[in-house]
């Protein structure tokens, strides 16, 4: 019964997230799209929680629904676009045809090729579907110590990647300031 409830909740959240992202990309106003995207992020956080990735769920809400979306909404407000700038007229018929073709191809690929590839890839790594593999690092996967396990992996096996990502963030911060800052008077006169 517990498993079934998890299952139903997972499927409902996944469907809601997919439908809401479809709603999001057809909004006319950027701010309402951002609000719908926050709902999508929160639903995804719930899915991560059901997959027992508790740290991922918390980080999803704090970093995505909190920080990144605030930056998005901030820029939308800063631009203060006039309504005539938003020339979106909804989904056209050509787009509808293209989208349904794409969904068809995607379903065929996903059910025929994707499942086979997944099983094959897992088997080649020694995993059997639906069971925890024998050589999985049991140290790294105790369900009630998710944060500890993520930290242990991140700061031991992935230390280099972690440090490189911190440099990437530094570069992004400097780069975004340089790109977005107002041009000085002499530059404006020269241009």
């Amino acid at each position: 019964m517990q498993m079934d409830l998890n299952f139903i909740a997972f499927v409902v959240m996944g469907l809601a997230a997919t439908i809401l992202s479809g709603v999001m990309i057809t909004r006319r106003w950027p701010v309402s799209a951002a609000m719908v995207l926050i709902a999508v992020m929160t639903l995804l956080a719930g899915m991560f929680g059901l997959l027992e990735a508790h740290f991922a769920a918390a980080a999803q809400i704090i970093v995505y629904a909190g920080a990144i979306m605030v930056v998005f909404v901030f820029v939308m407000m800063l631009l203060n676009l006039p309504p005539e700038e938003l020339r979106y007229g909804g989904v056209t018929w050509g787009e509808m045809v293209l989208i349904s073709l794409g969904v068809l191809v995607a379903i065929v690929l996903g059910t025929q090729v994707g499942q086979g590839l997944l099983t094959q890839g897992l088997e080649s790594m020694g995993y059997a579907p639906g069971q925890t593999p024998a050589h999985a690092k049991s140290l790294y996967f105790a369900a009630d110590e998710n944060v500890k396990n993520v930290a242990a992996t991140m700061f031991v096996d992935y230390l280099w990647a972690f440090e490189l990502v911190s440099f990437l963030i530094l570069a992004a911060v400097i780069g975004s300031i340089v790109i977005a800052k107002k041009r000085s008077a002499e530059n404006a006169n020269a241009a």
């Binding site: 996944g14 799209a33 994707g114 925890t132």
Partner: protein, 101 residues
């Protein structure tokens, strides 16, 4: 009967499709960037599901890195949008055909 993480992989597939449609069909650069966020989230869901399927934690660590890269991408991309709006007074991709600054 599919297990939870396998369904998660299918949902990540669907989310990726929706995000891809957003990047391809919207002409507004703000919407293209928001759709890129959906693409990254679909990848995150796939990573977490794979981490659950294989019983290892590496997928969740990589998902955290993806999140950091997404933050960088949002910062730089939005700075570019501000700079573009300042020079062209428009954020429609069609108005930026020249790409000569």
């Amino acid at each position: 009967m599919l297990t939870l993480p396998e369904i998660g992989l299918y949902f990540s597939f669907l989310l990726f499709l929706v995000g891809l449609a957003g990047v391809m069909f919207r002409k507004n650069i703000l919407f293209m960037m928001v759709s890129v966020e959906i693409l990254l989230n679909a990848a995150n869901l796939a990573f977490v599901s794979a981490s659950k399927i294989t019983g290892t934690i590496d997928g969740q660590v990589v998902m955290f890195f993806v999140m950091a890269v997404a933050a960088c991408e949002a910062a730089v991309g939005l700075a570019l949008i501000i700079a573009l709006y300042r020079t062209k007074a428009s954020i429609e991709a069609d108005d930026l055909k020249a790409l000569r600054g």
